[in-house]
Symmetry: C2
Subunit: 234 residues, 2 copies
């Protein structure tokens, strides 16, 4: 059954937001009496019966289950926006399917793209969450300057992926459980200064393999490595 | 330096194909005297000097180096085409960046798309090869009916990924070195009959994680798992 999203879903009688209501009633032609599933984006799933249509769909919501993420890690990717926004949107969809907890677009010295549409990324994450039945919606932060981000006190395992061919550890071997933060730069890679700043602030330089990956590929590969390293069957 | 591709590149005086010549001379404005790199798509890289322009660019080619793939495995993905061809093209680009040896589009019972443009996929693979400096071009086979493919005598480790929630092993734990063949079905997944045929023919049922991945995501995740499992620093 298709899964819907409403962050404030609780037990009892609930009026759904206009957008979601439109989708349920107009697009999917659901009518009073029909049952649907709604997640709060934090792993909780509700079994709800449509009580009343209209601009805001009224539902009677019963708690159904909690989907354990089956994860003992927290992944925060900080990735420079790609020149083509479409590639960044792919990144969000794919990481969402695989599993990510937080995404921060970072503005780097070599970034050509200096604006992003956060709301659009958030919508893509929601669609991917519904489609993948991954009931955990990641936090998508606003575009943040690299130099601001890098100085933040962040707990756990901090790594930065870059192309410059110095001897680096393979990222997969550096992943820990708990909090993992991974930085990925723009098409022009991080600048020397940015790399040094990262090292000074406790980030380990890592490699994602022997080939040169596009920005969005690097993010998806890193995301998947963390998922594989920490995989537990539910 | 940008890498070009010509499958028949050898040492000595060589006339490049018209298309590649056009790209080198017209798009990149290279002129006689300039040097470029050309790969044969089998790991060999040549350092060539442009001797003469024109419809077919004449070059003087010197062997430069062999890029060891750094891999002790062979990955053959057999993936049903996606409804939206764009998603399949993206799959080809990403798997090419990460590393794949052979791709067979398979026509399944639930496949909505029944045609693919092989040539277009081949061109995407070439672009991705140049961009990622992965000098190994995969073999892209024509669209093959599932029932024909499944009966082929294939050596090595054979797995099939599917959604139906039966207890399955995690793919990463099943990957071996040597030849790995992995099957991924269409949006509607494999049919019961197809799954049984796969099992009868020695394919192990595997899971790619706890969420439902899109076709192209499943292919990229599988490709990356094989790369991680067999990773050797060059």
């Amino acid at each position: 059954m298709e899964v819907f999203y409403y962050k404030d879903i609780t037990e009892g009688i609930v009026a759904l937001p206009v957008e979601e209501s439109k989708h349920i009633l107009k697009v999917l032609r659901k009518v009073p009496g029909d049952s649907i599933l709604i997640t709060d984006g934090h792993g909780k799933l509700y079994d709800v019966e449509i009580v009343e249509g209209g601009r805001q769909c009224i539902v009677n919501s019963k708690f159904s289950s909690v989907r354990e993420s089956g994860r003992n890690y927290y992944l925060h990717l900080a990735v420079a926006p790609t020149k083509m926004m479409e590639r960044y949107e792919w990144l969000v969809e794919k990481c969402m399917e695989i599993g990510i907890d937080e995404l921060t677009p970072i503005l780097c010295e070599h970034s050509e793209r200096k604006i992003i549409k956060e709301e659009r990324l958030a919508n893509i994450a929601v669609s991917a969450m519904k489609q993948s039945k991954n009931l955990y919606l990641p936090k998508i932060n606003p575009l943040t300057p690299f130099k601001e981000f890098i100085k933040r006190p962040i707990e756990g395992n901090k790594c930065i992926g870059y192309c410059e061919s110095t001897s680096k550890d393979y990222y997969f071997n550096k992943i820990t459980d708990g909090i993992n933060t991974m930085l990925i730069g723009p098409e022009g890679d991080f600048s020397k200064e940015e790399l040094n700043l990262a090292f000074e602030n406790g980030y380990k330089g890592v490699s994602l393999g022997n080939t040169i990956l596009r920005v969005e590929t690097a993010a998806i590969v890193a995301c998947n490595m963390v998922a594989v390293k920490n995989f537990n069957i539910e």
